[in-house]
């Protein structure tokens, strides 16, 4: 059996796509092209091991360790890999540093390129036409969809991920966190802050 959640009473209510995927997995397993236990392992890895907490670690470390921040600016691939985040869709990295003069936003207009190694799998909206179409032509409008207003005198830099370079936004460190540990700071770093559709949480928002 490819997977063990198919035999319950809900079976008759399966959607077409669900049934097609089950048939395909069964066929590909029978033909020896895939091993369903490997599929389980891949899914589990992206459910539980590789996700935005990786990127939050990178960001928090950049806030507390000037040497690491410097390394991240010069060679983000090596700096991020040094923390163990080497997995696929993170082979070639660049970090983008937000400031009071520039706000970075990452998109992939052509498909769904996203830094899996530090952010995990992309959210649905990142892969969908509303974001992909509008992020390049109306980034300020897109940011308003996320409740963010960027003042006119702050430039918005959009990065369209057209190659295998993957981008992580380093948001500004929230005020009032001077004595915070790296671990505590990492809890302020949201997935959206690292795409550029959010800011890091304020201390009051984190609790």
């Amino acid at each position: 059996m490819p997977h063990d959640h198919s035999d319950g009473p809900e079976h008759s209510h399966l959607s077409d796509i669900d049934a097609r995927v089950r048939a395909l997995e069964s066929l590909l397993s029978e033909k020896g092209y895939i091993d369903s236990a490997a599929v389980d392992e891949i899914v589990d890895t992206y459910q539980t091991k590789i996700g935005p907490r990786n990127g939050a670690h990178v960001v928090a470390k950049s806030w507390t360790d000037p040497e690491f921040r410097n390394w991240l600016e010069r060679d983000a691939t090596a700096a991020i890999h040094s923390l163990g985040y080497t997995s696929r869709q993170g082979e070639h990295m660049q970090a983008l540093f937000n400031s009071d003069q520039v706000h970075h936003l990452v998109v992939c207009t052509l498909c769904s390129c996203y830094p899996w190694s530090v952010l995990g799998l992309p959210p649905t909206w990142y892969k969908s036409p509303p974001f992909r179409s509008r992020a390049v032509i109306d980034p300020r409008g897109v940011l308003q969809d996320f409740g963010i207003n960027i003042p006119d005198d702050v430039s918005v830099e959009v990065h369209d991920s057209t190659a295998e370079m993957r981008y992580i936004v380093i948001p500004e460190r929230p005020t009032g966190t001077d004595d915070w540990s790296e671990d505590a700071l990492s809890k302020l770093v949201t997935r959206n802050a690292m795409i550029g559709t959010g800011f890091a949480l304020l201390p009051a928002e984190a609790s």
């Binding site: 080497t86 649905t124 969908s128 036409p129 057209t162």
Partner: protein
């Protein structure tokens, strides 16, 4: 190709709906498709650019209306049928009717972590010198290939500035044909939002794209 995947600058799709970090999948089938597609990579029957090419070759109305993981699914089926890995009859029945073709490898669970963490770097040993340096003004090709390209429609025949040299990377337009990687210099190129979209845009806003040398020429 000018397919439905080339979305930059299109209008009418409505607002972006944010979603929380969890759950990561919305249906069980999405999990299985993600895992199956990643696992199929080990078979070595297509490369990254061939799979992207298959996805963007879906009929536009289909591409724009099915869930993203289904785009992956339909493209993978196209690739597998083209290579004789599966037949329509097998897909209908879910049962093997012809022998499998020889594949490079099957991914087993004990190798998953190793494969995921190894990734698939696309930088290659550098050959020759880059034609451009940071600060150079370049203009992008005005070109409409019917095959795979990573130069989006909105950034064709536009003047931009080289921001940095990323390295020497596999050239997707050629790699998608499945014959040669033809690696070449990859640049980060910055365009003014006004250049791309008109003078009503904020003069300080920019869009950067990662573009290979064959997409660029020096501005005369």
């Amino acid at each position: 190709m000018n397919g439905a995947a080339d979305l930059g600058g299109m209008m009418g799709f409505g607002p972006v709906d944010d979603e929380p970090e969890f759950p990561k999948f919305h249906d069980a089938w999405e999990e299985r498709v993600l895992g199956i597609i990643v696992a199929l990579g080990a078979c070595g029957q297509w490369n990254l650019d061939q799979s992207r090419s298959a996805r963007e070759s879906l009929p536009p109305a289909t591409y724009l209306t099915i869930p993203y993981y289904q785009i992956w699914l339909e493209a993978a089926i196209t690739l597998m049928r083209a290579r004789g890995m599966v037949t329509d009859e097998e897909l209908r029945s879910g049962q093997q009717l012809i022998d499998p073709i020889a594949v490079k490898a099957t991914l087993h669970p004990e190798n998953v972590q190793k494969v995921l963490y190894a990734g698939g770097p696309v930088d290659r040993p550098e050959q020759g010198e880059p034609a451009f340096k940071a600060g150079d003004t370049v203009v992008t090709l005005n070109s409409n290939p019917t095959t795979h390209t990573r130069l989006p429609g909105y950034a064709r025949d536009k003047v931009g500035e080289i921001e940095r040299i990323h390295g020497f990377h596999v050239f997707p337009d050629d790699n998608a044909l499945g014959i040669v990687e033809n690696p070449t210099w990859l640049y980060k190129v910055r365009f003014s939002a006004q250049t791309l979209w008109g003078e009503d845009k904020n003069p300080d806003d920019t869009v950067t794209l990662d573009l290979w040398e064959p997409y660029l020429r020096a501005l005369e």
